[in-house]
């Protein structure tokens, strides 16, 4: 078409807008040129570079080869990158679980007064978060039956590590042995080994039977050197432990701590740790509050009153302000690294406080009835799914003659690796357990796909 108006802008390309939008300098520094000039004048410097007291030999020129992008370009690029996470339905568990997180959790926890705040060193302007953490501790206290709970550990594995060093500090037992069941996940054990390394503790395994503790075998494994016995309920194989009372009795009169691993949802239904004689409860609190985000979560740590001053991590306590009103504050800080330095109960500083907030909101949303009802469902779903799988030729489920929580193992006639891989190709992720077993986890967030999973397993096994 014959145009009197220019129609071609030769120096424009369709993909340059991101570059065009990328600010020179940081988009998050508020200074304009005039500000900089005035500030330098006040300081008495000619140039910002003068302010860097860095000797020439170690100066760096600032080139990392990292390209700046507009906000939109960063989002688009990461959206595309994450899309490479295959679109499979996860029937995965083993200590990391998916429960539906209601919208209020995001809506409230993302309020900037919460998420952009720091540790509550100035309690007068931090009452909100302090009360949240106090309520979180109270929730954990109720669900574990313990006297004291801290308000955040990194995860279940590090919480177990902290329990081991607590045992070392509080127990006069001669030895230095931490006794763990043979079903302990390798990852948790590896973390425990590193926590044990400093104080020189030794990790020893005891054999279990049918996925749960064999009290006789435990008793045989015990000795004067044992600081702590760790047991899970449910286990990461999904088995509900049936010998907690016996374990409690065995450990009752010994200088050995009884440490129970669990999670906040299971605790709302299963035996109360306090009732079976547990001394310390660790595990996963983030089953409430976060979906599965590649293992990011929050660890649980609760114990009996006598260990209070040896507890690792943050503790929030109630106090009064100058008006006599109830207030909250970080307390017993003399246990902590910023005061006690190398004699602190732990090196923990930043932890998982924001996840604790989310967990507290989620738990409050469910309430006692909701928690218990969901936990009850977590005992029914695996039973049903195991029975259906068991009906498929070549599958025997559950592998353990036990009640299960969320998950169970199933024996497979044939090559488990091939079966798991074939299922993945067809859109389902399950755990492989050795050469001839798989593990399957079912909750309210994937049960709607259970029928498809069964159909697919049937096809794969055929």
């Amino acid at each position: 078409m014959n145009q009197t108006h220019p129609t071609r802008e030769t120096d424009l390309s369709f993909d340059e807008s991101d570059a065009a939008q990328a600010e020179s300098g940081s988009p998050f520094t508020p200074h304009d040129a005039e500000d900089v000039t005035e500030m330098l004048a006040a300081i008495g410097a000619d140039d910002v570079e003068e302010l860097f007291d860095v000797p020439e030999p170690v100066r760096y020129d600032g080139s990392f080869g990292i390209e700046g992008r507009s906000e939109r370009a960063v989002r688009r690029r990461l959206d595309r990158t994450l899309d490479a996470n295959a679109d499979v339905v996860e029937f995965l568990g083993r200590g990391h679980y998916s429960h539906y997180v209601p919208s209020v959790v995001d809506s409230l926890s993302l309020r900037s007064e919460f998420i952009t705040s720091y540790t509550q060193y100035q309690p007068e302007v931090s009452q909100g978060f302090l009360q949240v953490l106090f309520e979180f501790q109270s929730l954990v206290t109720e669900l574990t039956g313990m006297d004291v709970a801290n308000c955040s550990m990194y995860d279940a594995a590090t919480a177990l590590g902290e329990a081991a060093t607590l045992a070392d500090r509080v127990r006069a037992a001669d030895g230095s042995t931490i006794l763990v069941p043979d079903y302990l996940r390798a990852e948790r054990r590896a973390v425990l080994e590193n926590y044990a390394d400093g104080p020189g503790l030794e990790i020893r395994e005891f054999p279990t039977a049918n996925g749960m503790v064999d009290p006789d075998a435990l008793e045989s494994a015990l000795g004067e050197d044992v600081l702590l016995v760790y047991v899970e309920n449910p286990t990461t194989d999904g088995v509900i432990e049936e010998h907690l009372d016996e374990i409690g009795s065995i450990l009752e009169d010994r200088e050995t701590l009884f440490c129970l691993g669990s999670d906040l949802l299971a605790l709302s239904l299963l035996q109360n740790p306090a009732d079976v004689g547990a001394d310390v409860v660790v595990g996963n609190a983030g089953v409430l509050g976060l979906p599965n985000v590649y293992g990011m979560g929050i660890g649980l740590f609760a114990c009996r009153e006598e260990f209070l001053r040896q507890v690792p991590g943050r503790l929030v306590g109630a106090s009064e302000d100058a008006d006599g009103d109830r207030t909250y504050t970080l307390t017993l800080q003399t246990r902590e690294q910023h005061i006690r330095r190398e004699r602190a109960t732990s090196n923990i500083c930043s932890n998982q406080a924001w996840v604790a907030l989310r967990t507290a909101i989620h738990a409050a949303y469910l309430g006692p009835e909701g928690l218990t009802a969901l936990a009850d469902r977590c005992t029914r779903l695996p039973a049903r799914l195991a029975a259906e799988l068991d009906a498929i030729p070549g599958v025997s489920a559950p592998a353990n003659d036990a009640y299960h929580f969320r998950e169970f193992t199933a024996e497979i006639d044939g090559d488990a690796e091939a079966v798991v891989s074939e299922l993945a190709d067809r859109g389902f992720a399950v755990h492989r357990r050795g050469d001839d077993a798989i593990q399957v986890c079912v909750t309210e967030t994937n049960e709607e796909h259970a029928a498809e999973l069964l159909e697919t397993v049937r096809e794969v096994m055929a």
Binding site: Q127, Q131, T141, E342, A344
Partner: protein, 471 residues
């Protein structure tokens, strides 16, 4: 002025959920037999509308960066870009940690790219993203150092870690957790490492020196090359505490200064939110030769496939999974938003701001020249009291009473994200308190949701749960 609940029924505080309702629920018709279930739980049963008001009100009684300046020295509270939350909130970011790597290629790509970004920024050979916090990074780094010495059959001999007096408390605690004895190094008169003292302390039993640079006074350790030589000559390793890396972004790299191991604090340097205490992330970087000791797994790329690999002499694991994934994802987003220019501008403005603020306040500010932070002295006034009085001016006070090398220390770090106007407001708050009389300071704060809080009683008779409150 901060919002405050003023409900007559509750003496001025927002009631606990448990004070609003406490319902005992005893499960019935459970699938499990009775002997495997508990008797019941007693928890608040609260409707969604009430729940939302509770947490909304609590948030209004909390100060965050979006409320105003937050110049906590060495804790670096800077603006947290909102778009990173949108990225972290995507459904595609929610994946199970036990997925086969083939099914998590997107997540692994982000890990791999971030390992690469951090290696470049730190001048390091390899990076692990597993440690879930800065202190966890310190422990990891010291365990790597330990593995290195054990590999050289010097594990038993090298049982000491040197730490300057002004170092972060976590340095001492982390080294102790790893089983080391601590040797504290005094500062020289100009606030930096005393080289003579270092030379004297270092020796065959030295496993490492942990150093923060710029140090907690905001001072660059000018003798860093000599320090490195002294430590390395004695067979020790040099550990870089990354808390203050914000000051040096693109100006100097720990690897180039001779550090062997370092950790990054992603919320301090890369603007991830601190969330009222975490989650953070404490990636560590190591120089060439130490990669094989890193935690398992590392993310590698093979052609265009990302895989998980266990380093040959890995120390094992420091977190049950791969660390705080969502925090790492936000870190990646922030770094790729800024790029080289943004990173360099960050340290420029951080240092400009600290120097400008130091210039504007009417308090003694010893030592210098400062980088990203400085430590002022409250003089005759107790620094903790000084801080309380600052709260009434609508700003968050600095870190107090530390490092002890300055009397009544006010350790102040404005960060690059504060505007000139905001710095002036902050300076006005400092100056108003420095002119206030003792009674006024003792009566502070008055404009906050709570008045001055009695911390002593809280520690003497701890009440740590609603159950203990009602005892």
């Amino acid at each position: 002025r901060q919002a405050k609940w003023d409900e007559t029924e509750s003496d001025g505080h927002e009631p606990l959920l448990a004070e609003k309702d406490l319902t005992r629920h005893e499960p019935s018709d459970t699938y499990l037999p009775d002997d495997l279930t508990r008797d019941g739980v007693e928890l608040p049963s609260i409707s969604e509308p009430e729940l939302v008001r509770h947490y909304t009100r609590l948030s209004q009684m909390n100060y965050g960066i979006d409320s105003g300046p937050y110049p906590l020295g060495s804790c670096t509270m800077k603006y947290n870009p909102k778009f990173t939350e949108d990225i972290a909130g995507q459904p595609a970011a929610a994946v199970h940690p036990d997925r086969d790597p083939e099914l998590a290629q997107g997540t692994l790509q982000v890990y791999h790219e971030l390992q690469d970004y951090l290696s470049r920024i730190g001048g390091m050979s390899a990076v692990t993203l597993q440690p879930p916090a800065g202190a966890a990074g310190e422990l990891t780094g010291i365990l790597v150092a330990k593995a290195y010495h054990e590999h050289n059959d010097e594990g038993d001999q090298r049982e000491e870690i040197l730490v300057p007096a002004s170092a972060h408390g976590t340095n001492f605690a982390s080294a102790a957790m790893a089983g080391y004895d601590i040797v504290e190094l005094p500062a020289d008169d100009d606030g930096r490492v005393d080289l003579d003292a270092l030379s004297e302390a270092v020796g065959d039993s030295t496993a490492a020196l942990m150093l923060t640079n710029p140090n907690t006074l905001g001072l660059f350790e000018r003798d860093i090359e000599e320090i490195a030589t002294i430590v390395h000559d004695a067979g020790g390793l040099l550990y870089y505490d990354g808390a203050n890396l914000n000051a040096l972004l693109g100006r100097a790299r720990p690897g180039d200064m001779g550090f062997d191991v370092m950790h990054f604090n992603v919320h301090k340097t890369f603007a991830t939110p601190h969330g009222g205490g975490g989650p953070g992330a404490g990636p560590i970087g190591v120089r060439e030769g130490l990669e094989k000791f890193l935690p398992s797994p590392q993310v590698r790329v093979d052609g265009d496939e990302y895989t998980l690999v266990e380093p040959a002499e890995s120390i094992g694991k420091v977190h049950g999974s791969m660390g705080n994934w969502l925090v790492l994802l936000k870190t990646h987003a922030y770094i790729s938003r800024l790029g080289d220019e943004g990173l360099v501008d960050t340290s420029a403005k951080a240092v400009l701001n600290a120097n400008y603020l130091a210039e504007r306040i009417d308090l003694e500010v010893p030592f210098g020249p400062f980088h990203h932070e400085f430590v002022a002295s409250a003089g005759e006034t107790d620094a903790a009291d000084f801080a309380k009085a600052m709260l009434d001016n609508g700003v968050h006070p600095p870190t107090t009473k530390w490092p002890e090398i300055v009397d009544e220390a006010l350790m102040t770090e404005p960060t690059e994200a504060e505007s000139k106007r905001s710095l002036e407001r902050l300076a006005a708050a400092f100056n108003a308190v420095s002119e206030a009389d003792d009674d006024a300071i003792a009566a502070a704060p008055r404009m906050t949701a709570a008045k001055r809080i009695d911390q002593t009683t809280a520690a003497r008779d701890p009440k740590l749960s609603w159950q203990q409150l009602s005892d």
